[in-house]
């Protein structure tokens, strides 16, 4: 695994990656905002305010923030069902996200989609997908369209470890490698497909080495180290944007919450979860780096944390004050 490259000091890496102090602060705030969104989602569910299910990404925040920072805001995003973090990173309006989560007319999808189907086409966010791997082949069409339209954006196709065993994963990698399409494949490996450990369903690991069969360069990285994500994804994005074809990045990470609301965590130990929380947490690691290297004082980071809490609280206020869709509109939007 490519991790914290050659143990280079944090400040040197940050400087080499041209990360300004403002950017570091902003990324810290986004990491906290994602975590707060997920904690709030869990709380709202416990309070009985959530009608449907949800797939929380707490523990995986550095992947979302790192990808977003290392790519362009107008690059296309194809997201998976555990996608809140990627939307927040892509500057989604959190009020509209929360409203969608609570099924309100004011939500991104007017309450028709819910947590699993948040999309914002105005910001090239092509939506999350409730079918594991279902969005992966869409990247082919996005890549082809970008080539035909002679544009310089790339398509970022994000999926989980579970999706890598779907047929469309292999079909898509084959065509993307064959046609040198501008696609960044990101496999966000959080170790479990629902309850199934990745080792129990993969003939050979890491997953990323499968890309080799399709002539696609690949990296297997520590997805909980923000700067590693930024560095790998940044160079991959440059490579893709220069017309060299796709790159595959597998980011090793971990989810703290269960798969969805029905999960009682019977397939993993409390110790395992606690070890990840205490020793590998992406936010804690970034925070410690910032503090140990005196980039920020503790109280400056507390300001970010408090801002994140406020953003989420006001999003809940907005969402709860929003109306349900009118039942009479149930058959709208079936056809364009």
């Amino acid at each position: 695994m490519e991790t914290e490259k050659n143990q280079e000091p944090f400040l040197n890496r940050a400087e080499r990656l041209k990360l300004s102090k403002d950017e570091l602060r902003e990324m810290y705030k986004t990491l906290c905002t994602i975590r707060q969104f997920e904690l709030m989602a869990d709380k709202l569910y416990a309070l009985g305010k959530v009608h449907g299910t949800m797939h929380l990404s707490a523990g995986q925040e550095a992947v979302a923030v790192g990808i977003r920072h290392a790519t362009r805001l107008d690059d296309y995003l194809i997201n998976h069902h555990r996608g809140h973090g990627h939307f927040i990173s892509k500057n989604a309006d959190i009020n509209l996200m929360m409203a969608e989560f609570l099924g309100k007319e004011a939500g991104y999808c007017k309450g028709r989609g819910g947590s699993m189907h948040i999309a914002d086409f105005s910001s090239n966010n092509l939506g999350a997908n409730g079918i594991v791997g279902g969005g992966i082949p869409h990247s082919l069409g996005v890549g082809l369209a970008l080539q035909m339209q002679k544009r310089d954006q790339i398509c970022i196709a994000i999926f989980g470890d579970g999706a890598s065993n779907e047929g469309v994963f292999h079909e898509t990698l084959n065509m993307a490698g064959l046609w040198k399409l501008p696609i960044l494949f990101v496999c966000e490996n959080n170790k479990y497909g629902m309850s199934m450990a990745v080792e129990r369903v993969s003939a050979k690991l890491p997953i990323a080495q499968r890309a080799e069969a399709y002539d696609i360069p690949w990296h297997y990285i520590d997805g909980n180290d923000l700067l590693t994500v930024i560095e790998t994804v940044g160079s991959a994005a440059d490579y893709i944007r220069s017309g060299n074809g796709p790159v595959f990045v597998e980011a090793q990470t971990y989810r703290y919450f269960g798969h969805s609301k029905s999960d009682r965590n019977l397939y993993r130990s409390k110790d395992e979860i606690e070890t990840w929380r205490l020793t590998k947490d992406p936010i804690l690691r970034f925070k410690n780096n910032l503090l140990e290297n005196e980039v920020f004082k503790a109280e400056e980071l507390v300001v970010c944390e408090e801002e994140a809490v406020k953003i989420i609280e006001s999003a809940v206020e907005f969402a709860e004050a929003s109306a349900d869709p009118d039942a009479a509109t149930v058959t709208e939007y079936v056809y364009a």
Binding site: H117, I131, P137, H138, G141, V142, A336
Partner: protein, 328 residues
């Protein structure tokens, strides 16, 4: 008007749309030098090049998936699935992705794509290359389902399909590819949801699609000599369905026979019966509504069995006589 084949009519629609709109492209298997399994795209690679006639590996789910992605970016993909049977391979992309996106994303996504697919038996291709699966697709809200029966309709409906902002399943009966018919030169479209009265009559209404339109017409023309006057309605598009045309016709004739090649159980004949029996036409019925459909079997290879699996002209004639006489 010049006479051209059904396959030529489809090619002509594709050709003209690709000339008109650079967003239109074709994606599928063996559609280049080979010209597609039924020759529909013959010559198009030379004219439009391999960036717009995109030949893929044998990966049906991702062919449709690619069309979905391109459509989301404003392109107008026309995907070819070599045999309609293979739609079962891509059903996730058609049913869970293309069909759902406009609704699921609150009206903010549009997925303007066409999936062309040859259907039907009669070529000895057996169980996995001969099905008529239109009912399966009709059951998925968000899709439009088109079954042209003549070259004129194939061209006019395909042009409409390419202009439509929704995913359209365009079902071509493979025995029709070589049939000829008059097709006007120049630009024309046939609107979706408008049935065509293929033959006006007063004694009995037949609703039929695709190749069954031709079989029903042949029988109706023979029976006219005996004074049995059959009206034949071709819905042309099953989704959207021109229910008014059917209700009007049945209100006039008082008798209804539905003929389709697709299997009987939960086939769309049942849908037509439901439409009629819950409409004002119910009061005009003077005989039980009947359906003549493909049998509930996989399409067999043997010629005798294959013929027995789907409605033939003699079956249609027998049904008409039974309904008219009131003997079933």
């Amino acid at each position: 008007m010049p006479e051209i084949t059904y396959a030529e009519a489809i090619r002509s629609a594709l050709w003209e749309e690709m000339k008109r709109d650079e967003r239109v492209f074709i994606i599928g298997e063996d559609i280049g030098r080979y010209g597609g399994a039924f020759g529909v795209t013959t010559g198009m690679l030379d004219e439009f090049g391999d960036k717009r006639i995109i030949e893929t590996p044998i990966s049906e789910p991702s062919i449709i998936g690619a069309a979905v992605g391109a459509a989301l970016l404003g392109m107008r993909p026309v995907a070819e699935i070599m045999f309609m049977d293979f739609v079962l391979l891509s059903l996730d992309q058609i049913g869970n992705q293309a069909a759902k996106m406009h609704y699921m994303f609150g009206g903010k996504a549009t997925v303007p794509l066409v999936v062309r697919m040859p259907s039907g038996s009669g070529t000895g291709a057996a169980a996995q290359h001969s099905q008529s699966l239109e009912t399966l697709l009709m059951h998925l809200p968000g899709l439009k389902v088109v079954t042209p029966s003549t070259p004129y309709e194939a061209k006019g409906l395909l042009r409409t399909a390419i202009h439509d902002l929704n995913p359209v399943c365009f079902i071509e009966h493979k025995l029709l590819y070589k049939t000829k018919g008059e097709v006007p030169e120049g630009d024309y479209q046939i609107p979706f949801g408008v049935a065509d009265i293929k033959r006006a009559g007063k004694d009995l209404t037949i609703v039929a699609n695709g190749i069954m339109v031709h079989k029903a017409l042949a029988v109706a023309n023979r029976l006219a000599d005996e004074g049995i006057d059959v009206e034949i309605i071709d819905p042309r598009t099953l989704v959207p369905l021109d229910t008014e045309a059917i209700i009007n016709s049945v209100s006039k004739t008082g008798k209804l026979l539905i003929v389709h090649e697709a299997c009987e159980t939960a086939g769309w004949a049942g849908e037509i019966m439901a439409v009629v029996s819950s409409s004002r036409a119910f009061d005009y019925l003077d005989a039980p509504m009947r359906r003549l459909t493909g049998k509930n079997v996989p399409i067999p290879y043997n010629r005798v069995l294959e013929r027995a699996a789907v409605p033939q002209e003699e079956d249609i004639e027998r049904e008409i006589r039974a309904i008219v006489k009131g003997v079933y």
